[in-house]
Amino acid sequence: MNHLTHEPIEAAWLARQVAGAESGGITTFTGVVRNHQDGRSVTRLEYSAFEPMADAECARIVSEAESRWPVAVRLRHRLGQLAIGDVAVAIAVAGAHRGEAFDACRYVIEEVKQRVPIWKKEFYADNTVAWVDPTKRKHDVDAAALTERPPVVSAP
């Protein structure tokens, strides 16, 4: 389980893992638990996964990004109980230049959302609970549509 953890994620630590003397640009994406969804007040989250497949799918996504762009990528997704403000996912990408670092980072988070078998249960302030279905949410559907575009070619 290299890409999944039940412990808090340190995005800065992840960025240090990809940094090298040849890196001119390092991008990080940090997904954080927010306190609202579709106008409802969220108090906490629980992530679960089909763990062996989720870890393998994360490895495939990292490897795709590293073969598509000249970058080094690290990815961690947290599982279990998370509080508001906790880091749910972190991605660090290092490249010689900013273009490939931004593009690969965006690719990895969009693919994670679409392909990795992880599920999210939201707990609301009114004591109700629901499994999240991103296919029924406008923001995530819009984000998914972005990945169907060809990648932006990076300027050096």
Partner: protein, 88 residues
């Protein structure tokens, strides 16, 4: 007269909202050979209490790799039914 081949024994895994619907995380399903992922799902929905509440065309993985409903299954394969994914 040839005898029919033995049925395929498929391990079906259910997660998250699907596990809640069926009140189980794992079910063994027997299907006549040859069979596809769709055949396994149809048998599951028909035979297992609560499983008719599953969608008839869910996302599925075969042996931990995303698959299609038309993919063939083999004896002892593991078919995972995946609710809409919500990582990130």
């Amino acid at each position: 007269m040839s005898s029919a081949p033995p049925p395929l024994r498929i391990r079906v895994l259910l997660f998250a909202s699907y596990a809640d619907l069926v009140s189980r995380e794992e079910v063994e399903v027997l299907v006549p050979s040859p069979a596809t992922v769709a055949d396994v799902i149809a048998r599951l929905r028909a035979d297992v209490p609560g499983a008719h509440r599953l969608p008839d065309r869910p996302l599925a993985a075969v042996n931990q790799v995303h698959g299609r409903l038309t993919d063939p299954v083999a004896d002892r394969d593991e078919v995972a039914l995946l609710p809409p994914m919500a990582g990130g």
